[in-house]
């Protein structure tokens, strides 16, 4: 591997150590995915997260003036007695989240320039999320895909389910191509209940078809987060020596002089990233790009930050769908 790759790996260790998080390279040496997830989550936080949905539950949230059409069951009669006005009581609703983890196991995820592959990272991230959610009694489903859907575990919360998830994640990437559409179609076709769809992939595939299917998922009410996992070398393309570059998936070979090709590569790579970002913005989808030398806790942070900001946005949005349940 080139010197660039080594430097990148070293940098990540430095940054991981400095930020107080676990260095991902160290983390990847743990063999068990569950142990890795525990290590990340335990250092992160515990407890529950707030439900993005307002329901009628134990914990009071706020009052809202009654308007015709609201359910009279939730009128606060005591307040009415005091103030002679109709108010509805609103509660923090503790729901059980249904999370679908869509994990790309195609062979392009097997690329590595820093000692562990994108697939390792993506599977650890998925395991971390699954573990984290399961500690909160949320249901986690898993769908692995390459050029087609490889495995599907429906979301459950019950003893042993997490183990199944972990076992399914252990599978090494084999696929020869990446088809981003198939898993989205499968989720859209099989899942009726709304949930959180987290797709973890390098998204190194043509994105034009992605827009339609993401939009379809969104229209079904799913919350969609794209976690884009990239190797540092893919982002920076810091190669020096000319070589036959070989596509991991298709084995196609191309003679590339990196010094000459770097500019074009970055240009096309960024254009692809921009196109992706634009699609996500249009569809209201969160896109998080993560380099594999970044600490895994940050992934969790990003995820929760997004969820919080989303729920706040949803809460603030008057007449928004999120606040209008019930």
């Amino acid at each position: 591997m080139s010197t660039v790759a080594r430097n990148t790996a070293g940098g990540s260790r430095a940054s991981g150590a400095a930020s107080g998080f676990i260095d991902p390279a160290t983390l990847m040496r743990i063999k068990s995915l569950q142990m890795r997830a525990q290590a990340v989550v335990e250092g992160f936080m515990s407890g529950i997260h707030r439900s993005p949905y307002f329901g009628f539950s134990v914990e009071f949230s706020e009052y809202r003036q009654y308007s015709p059409g609201d359910d009279p069951r939730y009128l606060d009669w005591r307040l009415y007695a005091r103030s002679d006005r109709y108010y509805l009581k609103r509660f923090e609703d503790e729901t059980n989240l249904r999370c679908y983890l869509l994990v790309d196991t195609s062979r392009s995820m097997g690329y590595s320039s820093i000692g562990y592959t994108k697939s390792d990272y993506a599977r650890t991230a998925a395991a971390t999320i699954a573990y984290f959610l399961s500690t909160q009694r949320d249901a986690v489903g898993l769908l692995t895909f390459e050029d087609e859907v490889v495995g599907y575990l429906p979301p459950r919360y019950r003893p042993g389910h997490l183990r199944h998830v972990m076992a399914a994640l252990q599978r090494e990437p084999e696929g020869k191509a990446t088809n981003l559409v198939a898993p989205l179609q499968q989720i859209a076709a099989t899942v009726r209940k709304r949930g959180l769809v987290v797709m973890i992939s390098d998204l190194l595939a043509p994105v034009d078809v992605l827009a339609t299917h993401l939009g379809y998922l969104r229209s079904q009410g799913h919350e969609v987060i794209l976690l884009r996992v990239l190797d540092p070398a893919e982002v920076t393309f810091e190669f020096q020596t000319p070589a036959m570059f070989q596509d991991i998936e298709s084995q196609r070979e191309l003679y590339v002089d990196p010094l000459a090709a770097k500019a074009g590569y970055l240009e096309r790579f960024n254009a692809h990233a921009d196109a992706l970002r634009k699609i996500c913005e249009n569809q209201g989808i969160e896109l998080v790009t993560i380099r594999t030398d970044r600490a895994l806790e940050m992934v969790l942070f990003d995820l929760l930050r997004l969820r919080m900001s989303r729920s706040r946005r949803a809460a603030r949005r008057p007449g928004g769908r999120g606040g209008g349940r019930g």
Binding site: M109, P242, A243, F245, G264
Partner: protein
């Protein structure tokens, strides 16, 4: 300058390879796996600064060092100094063996042979020693080593060729093995004396048509020397050969009972014709018989019965018509006049009395191959003419001869005749006593309870020798009812040829003068024994007839070169006169035992006191087998064959050996290695000098 290992010079091309590769393109140094090529475009090969040649002088020095190293590996040497020694080491001893057998009379084979000999001789080099031998049935020198050594090298082939051109193919057969062994001996002789030559190659060059009829069997017993090689120069013509030969060997008669001549017509496998004709010819090409058509497919042979022409003068030879090669198409036949002899029977019996001896004797003696026998009867009291053993080889005494006859019989016996005395009755035998020169001989009747059989037989005796074969020697079927008991010692010095079981003699022989007296103690008539009715009777009587050796010449058919055994001359004869086929006479001394000069086929005539005897000399039938012998056969028989290719290979090997020796002596490669070291030192110095400015620069930067 030459090189011992010139292939190493190709290594010099390796100098150009790195430069070329550097200039043409920088090849990718390996494969780089990457997640996806979707953002990559192929890069064109580019010229970098590194691919330009910077330090030309340095490159040249390194290339020169490499080239010198390559040159040293190629082991150069100077050849000029060695040229003379090589010639001396190359001296060869060659024997050229030229076939002159009868088969070379075909077509232009002899011209081809001479041309091949000339080509061979002119190719020999001045330093070579050589000799020429010619062979057919025997081997004879044409030009010897010593004779040629005295000549100027330029004149040697001319002399040898002039001698060869004097030769013509003989009529003799091909004794190839003998000739080869002789040639090997000649090429090897004196090898011990001249050590220098002994180290050179020895070669026998055989110029022959290598026909299948050549005799090579003797090579099995010969161990071919390792350092002598046989080079073949075969001559050949297209088309096969047909031949006619007398059937059978020495024993089997070539004439049938009817007097037909049995001949074999052989057609070689490579022949084109298959329809032939046979015709009798007499002297001066006279003929009175029509030709007989013979169909013989190629590779086969047919036996033909040729009826003899009526006129004996036309029975001189048989010609085969329809064959392209005439040399073996004539079969000479020696005809012998029928020998007319008489046998006298002394007795008074009637001719048709089947109970008496004469009846059977007449019939047993009448027919004999090659002679006609007339049996004449004389009564015991009749007058006996003067008997000549030559004309009357046998006298049978069926009874006591008359007193007037006894003296004549005694004289006949002493002059070499055979008298067969049959004892038909016991008592005194005056004739026998007279013939033996004894006062009296008496016999008694043998005492038999039933019958007697012959118990002891001397098979080596000429009487019984023809019946000695296991299939003929059963005499147990012959029973004797009566016999006369006569002790052999009563006859004086006599020999018992056959005896009965009880030991009493049955056949006694006594030599009297030159002649033989044979006594039978029992008659062959049915009253005495079963002898006359057994199959042994006729052969026994014929053997009796042959007991007189007339000193006749055995006129069988001979082959060219075969020795003819001459008959013993009677006392007083001074010499043999032999007339050759062309009419020229040859005279041999009287004590000559054989005649060896049967050089050409034909009918020879031998003048003997008994009359003129002809004998035919024909071509050896093997010589007619003209299909070429496979070359491998000679190798199978042990000859070490060489050919041009192998010889060139050997020359190449010896040249390489010399080169190795020469190179080892000159050792030019060592100087080349020294030069390499010098160039490398210069290169190191130059490289150091060239890198110094950059060091200076670096120091400057650092400061």
């Amino acid at each position: 300058m030459s090189f011992l290992a010139p292939l190493f010079l190709f290594g010099a091309f390796a100098v150009a390879a790195p430069v070329l590769f550097h200039l043409i393109r920088r090849s990718p140094q390996g494969k780089m796996p990457f997640s996806s090529l979707m953002f990559l475009t192929p890069s064109p090969p580019r010229l970098t600064r590194r691919s330009r040649l910077d330090h030309l002088l340095l490159l040249l020095l390194r290339a020169a060092a490499f080239c010198l190293l390559v040159l040293a590996f190629a082991r150069p040497f100077l050849r000029e100094a060695a040229a003379l020694n090589r010639e001396a080491a190359d001296r060869q001893r060659v024997v050229v063996l030229v076939d002159t057998s009868a088969s070379l009379r075909r077509g232009d084979l002899w011209a081809q042979t001479l041309a091949a000999a000339e080509a061979t001789l002119t190719k020999l080099r001045p330093q070579d020693e050589w000799a020429v031998l010619a062979f057919d049935q025997g081997t004879r020198p044409v030009v010897g080593f010593a004779e040629l050594a005295a000549l100027d090298p330029g004149q040697r082939p001319a002399l040898a060729m002039s001698r060869l051109k004097e030769l013509t193919p003989t009529w003799q057969s091909t004794e190839l093995a003998e000739a080869l062994i002789e040639a090997v001996g000649v090429v090897n002789e004196g090898a011990d004396k001249t050590e220098q030559t002994a180290r050179g190659a020895r070669r026998v060059v055989l110029i022959s048509d290598l026909q299948q009829g050549s005799r090579i069997e003797a090579l099995t017993d010969f161990e071919w020397p390792r350092d002598v090689e046989l080079e073949l120069r075969t001559v050949a013509i297209q088309g096969g050969n047909a031949s006619v030969s007398l059937l059978g060997g020495d024993d089997s008669p070539s004439t049938s009972e009817r007097g037909d001549l049995r001949v074999r017509v052989t057609n070689e496998a490579d022949s084109t014709g298959e329809n032939f004709q046979l015709r009798w010819r007499g002297d001066a090409d006279a003929t009175d018989a029509s030709p007989i058509a013979v169909y013989v497919p190629p590779g086969e042979s047919r036996v033909v019965r040729l009826p003899k022409p009526n006129d004996p003068a036309n029975q001189r030879r048989v010609e085969l018509l329809g064959d392209a090669q005439p040399f073996d198409n004539t079969l000479f036949v020696a005809t012998r006049p029928v020998d007319e002899v008489e046998v006298f029977y002394v007795g008074a019996e009637r001719t048709d009395d089947a109970t008496q001896l004469r009846y059977y004797a007449e019939r047993a003696l009448a027919e004999a191959p090659g002679r006609s026998v007339s049996v004449k009867t004389i009564a015991p009291d009749g007058a006996l003419p003067e008997l000549q053993p030559r004309k009357t080889p046998l006298v049978v005494l069926g009874t006591e001869a008359g007193e007037s006859q006894r003296a004549g019989l005694r004289a006949y016996l002493e002059s070499g005749g055979t008298v067969l005395s049959v004892l038909t009755a016991a008592g005194a035998h005056e004739t026998l006593a007279m013939l033996c020169g004894l006062p009296a001989i008496e016999s008694t009747e043998g005492v038999l309870s039933d019958y007697a059989m012959l118990g002891q037989i001397d098979w080596r005796h000429p009487l019984f020798a023809p019946l000695a074969g296991a299939q003929y020697n059963d005499f147990t079927k012959i029973r004797f009812w009566k016999y006369r008991r006569l002790a052999a010692d009563l006859l004086g010095e006599a020999r018992v040829v056959a005896a009965f079981e009880n030991g009493d003699p049955a056949v006694i022989e006594k030599l009297v003068g030159k002649g033989r007296l044979v006594v039978l103690t029992a008659g062959w008539q049915p009253g005495d024994s079963q002898l006359s009715r057994s199959s042994k009777f006729v052969p026994l009587m014929q053997s009796m007839l042959a007991l007189y050796d007339p000193g006749l010449f055995e006129a069988r058919s001979y082959v060219v070169g075969e020795r003819v055994r001459l008959p013993a001359q009677p006392a007083g004869a001074t010499e043999f006169n032999i007339q050759q086929p062309d009419g020229s006479p040859i005279t041999l001394p009287a004590d000559a035992e054989t005649f060896a000069d049967t050089a050409e086929p034909g009918v020879y005539a031998l003048d003997l006191p008994a009359g003129r005897q002809d004998f035919a000399v024909n071509l050896d039938p093997r010589e007619s087998r003209t299909s070429p012998l496979p070359v491998e056969t000679l190798e199978q028989w042990g000859a070490r064959l060489t050919n041009e290719e192998r010889r060139a290979q050997q020359a190449e090997q010896s040249r390489q050996l010399r080169d190795v020796e020469l190179e080892g002596r000159q050792k030019l490669w060592q100087w080349l290695v020294v030069a390499v070291l010098a160039v490398l030192i210069a290169e190191t110095w130059l490289a150091g000098r060239l890198s110094r400015p950059s060091l200076n620069q670096a120091e400057g930067l650092a400061s």
